[in-house]
C-alpha cells in the first residue's frame, strides 16, 4: 500500500496540470472576489519556522507554497515540486522544482528549501516545531537540534537550482504527506537575513504562495492580496482573502449572520437549530482529531486504575451516544478507537464495545467493577482533570453522572490550560481530558501517541504494541498492523476514547471550492471563488 504511494503521486503529478478554478455550469463569478473567514485568536507568527498553530498554518498555506499541496480530498498534489523520485531503498527523494517566483520576482530555488529546513533545525532559531523534521526522519535532524552537528549536515541539498535532494535516516512511508506542512515551506534567504525577525511584517514579507501579505493588525485582522508573481496566478480567482479575529464564537456567528464573515465555526450545541434554519449553510465535516480521558498508569497514578477491568468498566460505562447526540450535537461520532474514523485507509478494530447497546455495556461494566472489588457499596474515588472550557466541563459532568451509578465517584478538577498540561506531563493526575489531531492523513500520528516512547502522558506501555508500531514504519501494508494496534488499545484501555471530531461551520453558499473531504481541514484560497448571488 505505502509502496504504491510514491508512483501514484508521480502519476498524479504528471497527468494533472494545475487545477483551474472554474465556476460550474450555471454559476457566474461575483464582481468582488473576496473571501473573509473567522479566526478565533491572533496569529502568533507568520514565520514558517516559528508558526505553531492551526490559524497560522492556514495563512502560511496562502503566503507560501511547499513541495507538495493537498487537494480537496487531502491527497497530495504537486506544489513547487513538479515531480519527484524515490530511491529503491526509500531513503532518498529527488524533487524537480517548477519555474516559480517569489513575490519580489526572484526565482524560487532548491537552495531556498535547503536554507529554510536548516533554519528550522538550527538551535539558534529555537523553532518550537524543529521536531517536525525529526518526525520526517530527515537525516541528522535530531543531532543538529541537539547542537551535536552543524545545520549544514542536514539531509537536504540543492543539486542545482531546480533539483532538491532529501536524505532520510530511515524509510518513511508517510514522508510525502508531511511536505504540505507549513514547517517545510521555503523562505527567502536574502530577505530573512537582511531584516531578521522583522521580515514577516507587512511590506517586508516575501512569499511564494498564491497570495501576498497586505496588512496584519494583530488580534484584529489579516488581509492577503492575490500574488501576480505566483506561477499559477492565471487560475487564482480570489483577489482578497481576509482573516478576521473574533475571540467570542457567538459574536462571530452574529457577525456571520450580518454578512461580515463568509465562514465561521458553529458554537457548541447550535448545529441542530442552525442546520434547520439555514440548511444550505450549516456544514459538518469530519475532522481528524480525537477526544479522550487518559488514565494515569504511571507509578504516581492510582492503584485502582492499574486493574484493566476497572479501565474497561469506565470505558463501557461512558454513554458516548448521549455525549454526541445530546451534548455536542454537531455530527461528531462516538469513539471506540483512537484513530479518527475518517482517516484514509483506516479499518476500525473489531471491538466488542462498539457493537453493544448501552444497557449491555453498563451491565458488563458493573460486573467488571464487582470482580475488581468495587461497586455502589464499596465506591471507587477518582479525579477527572480538565482545562477551563465550557464544553470540557459539560462532558466531564456527563461522565461523572454516567459513572456514579456504577459506584465510581468522580471529583472534577478544573484547572487552567498551562496547569493542566504541566500536570499531565508530570503524571500528576488520575484521569485527564485530552485531544489529539493528526498532522497528516494517516493513522500513525494517532497510534504513535501510545508508544512507550510516544507522548503518552498516562505512561501505558505494551511490548506488542511497540513492536507493531515499529514494524509499521517500514511495512508495505500498514492497515492490518494499525488495526491490530487499535485492538490492543480496545482490550487494554489506556484511555477512554470519547468522540471523534467534526468541524461544524456556517459557510456562505456564494463561496465555492471549500474542501469538505479533507480530514486535516487544510484549505487553499487559490481553489476558492465567489459566485454572484
Amino acid at each position: 500500500m505505502t509502496k504504491l504511494f510514491a508512483p501514484t503521486a508521480l502519476i498524479v503529478a504528471l497527468s494533472l496540470p494545475a487545477h483551474a478554478v472554474q465556476p460550474a455550469e450555471g454559476e457566474t463569478l461575483a464582481d468582488s472576489q473576496t473571501y473573509t473567514y473567522w479566526l478565533l485568536d491572533a496569529i502568533k507568527s507568520l514565520d514558517p519556522a516559528k508558526n505553531t498553530d492551526v490559524e497560522g498554518s492556514d495563512v502560511l498555506r496562502q503566503l507560501f507554497e511547499g513541495l507538495m499541496n493537498e487537494d480537496a480530498t487531502g491527497a497530495m498534489v504537486p506544489g513547487v515540486a513538479e515531480t519527484h523520485q524515490e530511491s529503491e531503498d526509500g531513503l532518498t527523494y529527488t524533487f524537480t522544482l517548477r519555474d516559480a517566483k517569489w513575490s519580489n520576482g526572484d526565482p524560487v530555488t532548491a537552495g531556498d528549501f535547503v536554507y529554510a529546513w536548516r533554519r528550522v533545525v538550527n538551535p539558534d532559531t529555537a523553532s518550537e516545531y524543529a521536531w517536525f523534521l525529526e518526525l520526517m526522519n530527515v537525516a541528522n535532524a535530531t543531532r543538529i537540534i541537539a547542537g551535536e552537528l552543524p545545520p549544514d549536515q542536514l539531509g537536504v541539498r540543492a543539486i542545482d537550482d531546480r533539483t532538491l535532494e532529501v536524505t532520510l535516516s530511515t524509510r518513511t512511508p508517510y514522508f510525502l504527506k508531511t511536505l504540505s506542512h507549513a514547517t517545510t515551506f521555503p523562505v527567502p534567504q536574502a530577505v530573512v537575513e537582511r531584516l531578521g525577525d522583522a521580515w514577516t511584517q507587512p511590506g517586508n514579507l516575501v512569499g511564494n504562495g498564491a497570495f501576498v501579505l497586505e496588512s496584519h493588525n494583530l488580534g484584529v485582522d489579516i488581509t492577503l492580496a492575490k500574488n501576480p508573481e505566483y506561477w499559477d496566478a492565471a487560475n487564482v480567482a480570489l483577489d482578497t482573502v481576509r482573516g478576521v479575529t473574533v475571540n467570542d464564537n457567538n459574536v462571530a456567528l452574529t457577525r456571520y449572520l450580518a454578512g461580515e464573515l463568509d465562514r465561521v465555526q458553529i458554537p457548541a450545541g447550535q448545529y441542530p437549530r442552525l442546520s434547520q434554519d439555514y440548511p444550505d449553510q450549516a456544514v459538518s465535516i469530519p475532522y481528524a482529531c480525537s477526544y479522550a480521558y487518559v488514565f494515569n498508569l504511571s507509578d504516581k497514578g492510582p492503584e485502582a486504575l492499574k486493574d484493566v477491568r476497572v479501565r474497561q468498566a469506565l470505558s463501557l460505562g461512558l454513554n458516548r451516544d448521549i455525549i454526541v447526540d445530546q451534548v455536542l450535537q454537531g455530527g461528531q461520532k462516538p469513539a471506540y478507537s483512537w484513530t479518527h474514523w475518517a482517516i484514509e485507509g483506516f479499518q476500525s478494530p473489531d471491538a466488542d464495545i462498539a457493537g453493544m447497546t448501552q444497557p449491555e455495556r453498563t451491565e458488563k461494566a458493573a460486573a467488571l467493577l464487582a470482580e475488581a472489588g468495587y461497586g455502589p457499596d464499596s465506591p471507587l474515588a477518582l479525579t477527572l482533570q480538565y482545562n477551563t472550557d465550557e464544553n470540557h466541563k459539560k462532558l466531564a459532568i456527563a461522565a461523572q453522572q454516567f459513572w456514579k451509578p456504577l459506584g465510581v465517584n468522580i471529583t472534577l478538577n478544573n484547572v487552567e490550560w498551562k496547569v493542566h498540561t504541566d500536570r499531565m506531563q508530570s503524571q500528576d493526575f488520575d484521569m485527564a481530558r485530552y485531544a489529539w489531531c493528526a498532522d497528516y492523513n494517516e493513522a500513525s500520528p494517532f497510534l504513535d501517541w501510545f508508544r512507550t516512547d510516544g507522548y503518552n502522558s498516562g505512561k501505558w506501555s505494551n511490548a506488542e504494541y511497540d513492536a507493531l508500531m515499529a514494524h509499521s514504519k517500514t511495512a508495505p501494508d500498514t492497515a492490518p498492523l494499525y488495526k491490530r494496534a487499535e485492538e490492543i488499545l480496545a482490550e487494554e484501555v489506556p484511555a477512554v476514547f470519547v468522540y471523534h471530531y467534526a468541524k461544524v461551520d456556517m459557510l456562505n453558499p456564494a463561496i465555492k471550492g471549500i474542501p469538505t473531504q479533507n480530514v486535516t481541514n487544510s484549505w487553499y484560497a487559490k481553489g476558492l471563488y465567489r459566485i454572484a448571488e
Binding site: A42, T52, A126, I145, G219, N247, W417, K418
Partner: protein
C-alpha cells in the same frame, strides 16, 4: 507642593521595582512555562528555546537582565508567544487602541454620570430622581459581557448600523460600541457617588447661607455644591481612568479591538512572561501617576487641602 510631587515621584521608583520583582517571582511560581504545550517539546528543543530567551539563567540573573534592559535601553524584551514581535511593539500596537476607546468611555461616563447624579440630587425624591437612579442601577447590573454581544446583535445584525467589531483609527464607527459597553457601569457608579455626595453637600450650612443671601440657584449648584461634591468622585476616578485606558479584556474579546486588555490576560494564561511584565509595569506606572494627579486635583478643588 513641588516638594510633595518630588517626594511622591521618588517613592514611585522603589514601588515600581518592588512591583517588578514580585510580579516576576509570582509569574515564575505558576505551573508551566511559555513553552509548555499539549505536544510536549523534545528536551533538546525546549533547551534551545530556554537558552534563546534566557530562561535557563538563575532567577536573580533573569530579573537583573530584565531591569537592566528596561533602565538602559527601555527594552522590555521579546515576546515568547509572538516570536515575530517585541513587547515594545506589542504595547505600541495595542495601547493606543485602548487609550482611545478608554479615554472616550471615561469622558462619556463622567459627563453622563455626573449630570445624572446631580439632577437626581437636585430633584431628590421626584420622578427625575427615581428615573436617574433606575437608569444607573440598570446600567450597573447589566454587565459588559452581556451588553457587548447584545450591542452587536442589535446595532450590527438587526439595524446594520455599525461594524460588529475590529478597529480603525480613522473610522469612528468602530469606536462606538466599545465606548458604550465600557462606559455604562462606570457611568452608573459615578452617578450614584455624585448623587449621594451632592445630597450631603446640599444639606450643608454654606448652601443654606448662599441661598439665604439670594444667590441664583444655578450658581449655588454649580459653584458651591458641585465642586465640593466632586471630591469623592475624583478619588474614585483616578484608578478608574487607569483601568479604562489600559483596557478591558471583555471589550477586547467581544469587539476584537486588538487592545492590550486581552493581551494582558492572554500573556498570563500563555505564560508570556515578557508581555505580562511589560503590561504590569505600564499599569503600575500609570496608577502611580494618576494617583498623584488625583491628589493634586484635590488641593486645587478644595482650598482646605494643602501638602
Amino acid at each position: 507642593m513641588a516638594m510633595f510631587i518630588l517626594r511622591r515621584l521618588a517613592v514611585a521608583i522603589p514601588t515600581l521595582l518592588a512591583l517588578i520583582v514580585l510580579s516576576f517571582l509570582l509569574m515564575h511560581m505558576a505551573p508551566g512555562g511559555p513553552f509548555t504545550q499539549e505536544r510536549a517539546l523534545p528536551p533538546q528543543v525546549l533547551a534551545n528555546l530556554n537558552a534563546k530567551y534566557g530562561l535557563d539563567d538563575p532567577l536573580w540573573r533573569q530579573i537583573w537582565n530584565y531591569v537592566h534592559g528596561i533602565v538602559v535601553h527601555f527594552d522590555f524584551g521579546p515576546s515568547f508567544v509572538y516570536p515575530d514581535r517585541t513587547v515594545n511593539q506589542l504595547i505600541a500596537a495595542g495601547f493606543p487602541v485602548t487609550l482611545t476607546y478608554g479615554t472616550l468611555a471615561f469622558a462619556a461616563a463622567v459627563i453622563v454620570g455626573v449630570t445624572l447624579g446631580t439632577i437626581a440630587a437636585i430633584r431628590h425624591n421626584t420622578w427625575l430622581d427615581y428615573l436617574a437612579v433606575g437608569v444607573s442601577i440598570g446600567a450597573q447590573v447589566l454587565p459588559n459581557f452581556v451588553m457587548a454581544p447584545l450591542l452587536v446583535l442589535v446595532l450590527t445584525l438587526w439595524m446594520g448600523w455599525l461594524p460588529g467589531g475590529g478597529w480603525s483609527f480613522s473610522d469612528p464607527s468602530f469606536w462606538i460600541m466599545p465606548v458604550i459597553a465600557l462606559s455604562t457601569s462606570y457611568m452608573a457608579s459615578i452617578a450614584r457617588i455624585t448623587r449621594s455626595s451632592m445630597l450631603e453637600v446640599l444639606g450643608g450650612n454654606h448652601i443654606r447661607t448662599a441661598r439665604a443671601k439670594g444667590m441664583p440657584e444655578r450658581r449655588v449648584i454649580l459653584r458651591h455644591a458641585l465642586r465640593p461634591a466632586m471630591l469623592p468622585v475624583i478619588s474614585y476616578l483616578g484608578p478608574v481612568f487607569v483601568s479604562m485606558i489600559t483596557g478591558s479584556v471583555v471589550i477586547d474579546i467581544y469587539f476584537s479591538t486588538g487592545g492590550i486588555g486581552k493581551a494582558f490576560v492572554d500573556s498570563a494564561l500563555n505564560r508570556d512572561y515578557a508581555v505580562m511584565m511589560g503590561v504590569t509595569i505600564l499599569v503600575g506606572a500609570l496608577t502611580i501617576l494618576f494617583n498623584l494627579l488625583v491628589d493634586i486635583l484635590y488641593a486645587w478643588i478644595d482650598p482646605r487641602i494643602r501638602y
